[in-house]
């Protein structure tokens, strides 16, 4: 193991912000030392941590709600990790990561570990990076990790699958968006939060959601559709309590382990594709072809993987 990996690992254990930030970059950029760092993280801390995905359409209040949850968790002395995901521009590859603006109240609190991540246009590679980031934060002593992402696209859905628990934040006034999401994220969400519940249309939305979720509630006995007004910190304590109860329920019924294994498998597939991508890119560039992509892919696979 290189000295720099050792220094970073020691720093992570001692919760040094510089070491945590550097280690995440090393893993995100697939740098030298990534394997060392990931091999020697504290597995006990990783298995104990609760990972929650916070998702929902833009403007529903995810960042405000996340910031409110951080405040409650900090008041009870818990160390928190936040991964805030924003999309990269498909044209330039750049990104503006602005979720921190609403979390700046916690900027000087060393027990709130925040990392902004861009999707970087990777098909699934983001999952691999975010998964590793979760484990680094957990190894640094974070007891709860929130992954905040706009819940509208496939890559966001993939990333949400990394979490033990998924919270979908909705607000009245998104009518058609919510209709469109019904087939997708609503089904994988464990909690539906109707935020801005003092606004017109909230009661109708709440009724719709309760109808969709009625089957899920019976299974665990925990209320899964909740109302909040995140900007006034209303309903957040109840939400957090329900999340913790549900996490305990998942652990007790063996479902937490199942979910973790599923997430680890998804990450592994991601890494396989990421690691093979340059080889196939190379093989593809060397033999241009007008063949149907599916046929070409099969040929490239049998040629490239056999040579090894």
């Amino acid at each position: 193991m290189t000295t720099s990996s050792e220094i970073l690992l020691a720093g992570i254990k001692e919760h040094d912000p510089r070491a945590i930030g550097r280690a995440i970059s090393v893993v995100e950029n697939n740098g030298d030392g990534a394997a060392d760092i990931l091999t020697f993280l504290d597995q006990e801390r990783i298995s104990k941590v609760m990972v929650a995905g916070i998702t929902g359409p833009p403007g529903a209040g995810k960042s405000t709600l996340t910031s409110g949850l951080i405040t409650i968790l900090r008041n009870s002395g818990k160390r928190v990790g936040i991964i805030a995901v924003d999309p990269s521009s498909p044209i330039s590859g750049g990104a503006i990561l602005g979720d921190r603006i609403r979390m700046m109240d916690h900027a000087l609190d060393p027990d709130v570990v925040v990392r902004s991540m861009a999707t970087r246009g990777r098909l699934g590679g983001l999952c691999a990076s975010a998964g590793a980031t979760v484990r680094i934060m957990a190894a640094a002593g974070c007891e709860l990790i929130l992954i905040e992402t706009v819940g509208v696209g496939q890559s966001e859905m993939d990333i949400v699958q990394l979490a033990d628990i998924t919270v979908m934040v909705l607000a009245p006034g998104f009518g058609d968006d919510i209709q469109a999401m019904k087939a997708g994220l609503l089904e994988v969400a464990d909690f539906l939060v109707v935020n801005k519940s003092d606004q017109p249309g909230a009661s109708g939305l709440l009724m719709d959601m309760e109808q969709i979720f009625s089957a899920k509630e019976e299974e665990s006995g925990i209320a899964r559709v909740l109302e909040t007004i995140a900007s006034e910190n209303r309903g957040l304590e109840e939400l957090l309590q329900s999340m913790e109860n549900f996490s305990d329920y998942l652990a007790a019924t063996g479902q937490k382990e199942q979910r973790r294994n599923r997430a680890l498998n998804a990450e592994t597939i991601d890494w396989i594709i990421e690691m093979l991508r340059p080889r196939f890119q190379d093989a593809m560039n060397r033999s241009p072809s007008q063949k149907d992509p599916r046929i070409r892919a099969k040929e490239l696979i049998s040629k490239t993987l056999r040579v090894n």
Partner: protein, 142 residues
């Protein structure tokens, strides 16, 4: 396996009390359009908040904007706050309404570059690129 260079990460922040962030947002967008990942921390931040965020986000460069006239105090304060958190290697660039006669003082106090009104955007972008690349070159980890 050849490794692609991953995007540079920069922080754009406004220390102090002035609330005019048109310039900061313009630069943030211009950097994004050139492939940077830009962490934007909004207006009215303290030097300590900006430095702590830069460390957590592990940025290659910090860019500061000030229109309030307090740059002589606030810009070097960010440099010092970074250093006290183990980030003395992170270059800091500054821009805004800055009189010519202050530039030398700021450079002496740890700033890596200063941009005054009227500096063309591509000059600013290439300074960010150069500073980021230098930071990466001295970094054996990524």
């Amino acid at each position: 396996m050849t490794k692609e260079q991953t995007p540079f990460r920069v922080l754009i922040g406004k220390p102090g009390l002035d609330g005019h962030d048109r310039g900061a947002k313009f630069i943030a967008r211009a950097l994004r359009d050139q492939g940077f990942e830009v962490i934007y921390t909004g207006i009215r931040r303290t030097a300590a908040e900006i430095a702590a965020t830069a460390i957590q986000e592990d940025v290659d460069v910090v860019g500061l904007s000030s229109l309030s006239g307090a740059h002589l105090r606030l810009f070097p304060e960010v440099v010092n706050e970074l250093a006290s958190r183990g980030g003395s290697d992170i270059p800091v660039l500054g821009g805004g309404v800055i009189p010519e006669e202050d530039i030398a003082t700021l450079l002496e106090n740890g700033l890596s570059g200063i941009f005054t009104p009227g500096t063309p955007a591509d000059v600013i972008i290439s300074s960010f690129k150069k500073a980021s690349q230098q930071h990466r070159n001295h970094d054996n980890l990524k």
